[in-house]
Subunit: 332 residues, 2 copies
């Protein structure tokens, strides 16, 4: 079987959508955008037991929170506001009722925190416990009612690359869960980063209002997600590893691997924001904590990210990030 | 574990949506309806291998067609027009590439037949092959721009119950697939009814324009789906079994069970339309084939469907329809 990204390319070829003039953004960005009466930004994200979570390692309510939060993050990465969710639950017949009750409680908590209303869904029997959420939101509009969007393909050479917060905490939390041992405050903070991420709707909205037009959320890992921007924009990027902000709890618990996990670990759900420096500064001025500049877009012909150490030497990482098809929750 | 309908009730309690004034129709109808810039009608539907289809019994393209068609039918049952789909594929790692290729080809064929654009989706690894589609559409609007909707809760005692076409064909096709033997023309027609359903967007649109305000699509079986209308509307229904139109191929291949399958078999994706008789006649006048009147809504206190034979005696069926949690594709 092909990798996820190859399969997405096959999907794009098999399902051409460019012909629809109502579709502003189709397959390949964080979310789709279309025009109906107004404008809708929509995304969908799935969590599979044994791949994205283990039922006996995390409470159902945390799975519910994270399933919705991952979708909210995609909407945030478009500079849009989440609004309505459809929740699909694939449930093994032997599941105790307390599990869906816990799941719904977590979804509800996240929905209330982000102003999302669950409007419907589906419940089916399946051998594999799976939660799929589709989420629709509203884009930020300009004065004439046209949508202002953050896209993957809007980066240009010379733009600054910034991130919205410390990274690697979610990957650290995953490591804590796998080890099933740690119970320190740092360990608990990391697990919370992994299972209760706080998507940055505030950052996306501030960015789009400040004139930024390019962003992505960190779901696969900074290096890989910045790579998606490079590929979509036809540009390269130089990332200064020493400038990547590291989750303090990660540095405390796993000091040897913290920098690697901050650069490559997935599911932090912070945003990567790419724009001219003055726009980045305007975004920072609108936020409680400023964006952190970590690199610059280049005109490198190979359209990839170079991760550089303090001496300007390229650093190669074994693990480039998360491929949803080849990597499972416990596989690495 | 509770039944599907009990779990949906739990979901409604756990995720109260009535507080959102933008939500016109929430959990419990064929699709949700909300107001954003315009109005959106949205639904989601899942097909799980081993529960809703067998990979070696049906081509991937048929699974793709049916996965999208089931969603389109939910939009049709609201009197709305389907527009944009998000496609989520949960794929076992050992799946040959030809399978998703076939799936996408079937989704594309159905999308083109109904004017739907695939705007995005998700691909993840899973032990269980699963296709989840979320579909958004546009409601029919009145002259002042307000949505005209077909709802489950709008039936009133004295209303006529009509169906949009012959029933039982899909259940007959499922029986053909299970027997893995039949190869007659009738058998092929029934399998096509099962795997290539043609949702009735035309009927929903004609109904809503003719002033009808109540409908449901036949996904669980006529008796059960009409029961959903009774429950939502606080009414009863008397169904005249002799008037239920039966798929001719079903009568040819399974004459002994045809009437039972027409009354209880699921996934025909015709519409049940409930309205005053003059409205039903206006709908019929707008369609190539008229609606078939099969019963009447009553004020029966127990809010259930009575299936009556030609002598007016109630007929009880062993199998009341399809519960997505307790019944699997091969279980009955």
């Amino acid at each position: 079987m092909d990798s996820e990204f190859s399969l997405i390319a096959r999907l794009r070829r098999a399902l051409p959508s460019a012909a629809d003039p109502r579709l502003l953004v189709g397959i390949g960005d964080d979310a789709a955008v279309w025009r109906d009466g107004g404008y809708t930004v929509a995304t969908t994200d799935t969590m599979v037991e044994g791949v994205h979570f283990l039922r006996d390692a995390v409470p159902a309510c945390d799975v519910g929170w994270k399933a919705l939060a991952a979708n909210i993050s995609d909407i945030a990465a478009m500079g849009a506001t989440p609004a309505f969710a459809l929740v699909t639950l694939c449930l093994p017949p032997d599941t105790d009722d307390s599990w869906p009750d816990g799941l719904y409680a977590g979804i509800r908590a996240c929905a209330e925190a982000y102003g999302v209303t669950v409007a419907g869904g589906d419940i089916v029997s399946s051998p594999t416990l799976t939660i799929t959420i589709a989420l629709a939101g509203a884009p930020t509009l300009d004065a004439s009612g046209e949508p202002l969007l953050l896209r993957r393909d809007a980066a240009r050479a010379g733009d600054v690359v910034a991130v919205s917060g410390p990274l690697g905490g979610s990957a650290g939390g995953l490591r804590v869960l796998r080890s099933r041992g740690a119970s320190s405050d740092a360990a608990r903070l990391l697990v919370a980063r992994h299972m209760r991420p706080r998507p940055r709707v505030d950052v996306g909205a501030a960015a789009v209002r400040a004139g930024v037009r390019c962003a992505i959320d960190i779901s696969d890992g900074l290096l890989q997600d910045l790579g998606h921007i490079c590929e979509a924009s036809g540009a390269g990027a130089d990332l200064r590893l020493d400038d990547v902000p590291i989750d303090p709890a990660l540095s405390a618990l796993y000091p040897d691997d913290a920098r690697t996990l901050a650069a490559t670990g997935g599911e932090d759900y912070e945003l990567v924001v790419v724009a001219q420096r003055d726009a980045i500064e305007r975004v920072s001025a609108a936020l409680a904590a400023p964006l952190e500049v970590v690199g610059v877009m280049t005109s490198a012909a190979e359209h990839r990210v170079r991760a550089l150490d303090s001496g300007g030497r390229e650093v190669r990482f074994e693990r480039g990030g998360w491929d949803h098809l080849s990597r499972a929750w416990l596989a690495t």
